[in-house]
């Protein structure tokens, strides 16, 4: 049974890591489309002139990637095996705020901006 357990462990670990690696490589090489990731579109403007650089997307991108890596480091350094490490109470508020800024910018560009 220990051999089977070990086999399954490695199987899942390799699958997850290779999948994450493939997605990361495809994003970095442009095979996964990332055009316009940091740009919004203003609905009221005509095509070709509607795209604008969006700082609210930049902050959400940094926050999402930062929060992801931070949580992985918490899991790797978890002193209490078998449990998910808890995160500071302020994090949901921060992530909520970051998402609210992004959504606010998107809604403004879609409905109000000229």
């Amino acid at each position: 049974m220990p051999v089977l357990e070990l086999l399954m462990k490695y199987e899942i670990a390799i699958f997850l890591l290779v999948l994450a690696g493939l997605v990361a490589i495809k994003i970095l090489t442009g095979e996964i489309n990332t055009s316009g990731l940091l740009f919004g579109r203003i609905s009221a403007r005509k095509k070709g002139q509607d795209q604008y650089f969006s700082p609210e997307r930049v902050q959400l991108l940094l926050f999402s990637v930062g929060a992801g890596f931070y949580y992985l480091t918490l899991v790797l350094n978890n002193s209490n095996p078998g449990t998910f490490p808890d995160i500071p109470q302020t994090w949901p508020g921060l992530l909520g705020g970051s998402n609210a800024i992004y959504l606010g910018g998107k809604a403004y560009a879609r409905w109000l901006a000229k």
Binding site: A20, L60, D86, L103
Partner: protein, 197 residues
């Protein structure tokens, strides 16, 4: 009984492994197309989809690490704060889609146009001019370059090279028309006109 359980375990492990390798192989060779994994229907990449992707990988890797850190492996409790983070990300995604779908332009697929730049150029004899082509629907996709009228040559990378000298006996300005065609969308093409000086 124990032998049978073990045998079934190995069988399931083998099948899951084969399925996993098959999926990864198909993703790697492009048969499973992930090019629009984080794209909106109109072709723009979506940050809320990207955030969802990052969090999904983080939670999947974390779940795996947490489960294998104890023996026997057990499914752990997920803290409320982690669930609330995922809830915020999911809600943000849904609201973002609501905003996106409130306008037909946010849903309509982007055309399969190809745009060449510059559209016109003046090139001296013996000199070169680099042209670029953009396929908004699928950035980075391969294109084909050719000179369809006039003189000069164009490389596979879009570098137009004029002949060393004007053809003998010509007094009028010479022109060349360069065509770029998308390999992905063969019906999409654009032209640039070169005036030789």
């Amino acid at each position: 009984m124990e032998t049978l359980t073990l045998l079934a375990g190995y069988l399931v492990c083998g099948l899951v492994g084969i399925l996993g390798v098959f999926i990864l192989w198909k993703i790697a060779d492009g048969s499973i197309d992930l090019s629009r994994l984080i794209s909106e229907p109109n072709g723009d990449a979506s940050l809320s989809r990207f955030q969802f992707l990052v969090f999904t990988f983080v939670i999947a890797l974390s779940l795996f690490l947490v489960i294998v850190s104890v023996k026997p492996a057990t499914f752990p409790n997920i803290p409320g704060t982690v669930l609330s983070l995922l809830g915020i990300s999911g809600s943000s995604y849904l609201i973002s889609k609501g905003i996106q779908f409130s306008d037909p332009a946010g849903v309509a697929d982007r055309s399969t146009d190809i745009v060449i730049s510059p559209a016109t150029a003046i090139v001296r004899y013996g000199q070169s001019q680099q042209f670029k082509a953009e396929v908004p629907r699928k950035p980075g996709s391969t294109v084909k370059w050719q000179v369809i009228a006039g003189i000069g040559t164009v490389s596979a990378m879009g570098l137009y090279t004029a002949p060393a000298a004007s053809p003998a006996g010509t007094t009028q300005p010479q022109h060349a028309t360069i065509q770029v065609t998308s390999d992905e969308f063969p019906d999409a093409s654009d032209l640039a006109v070169v005036t030789l000086a």
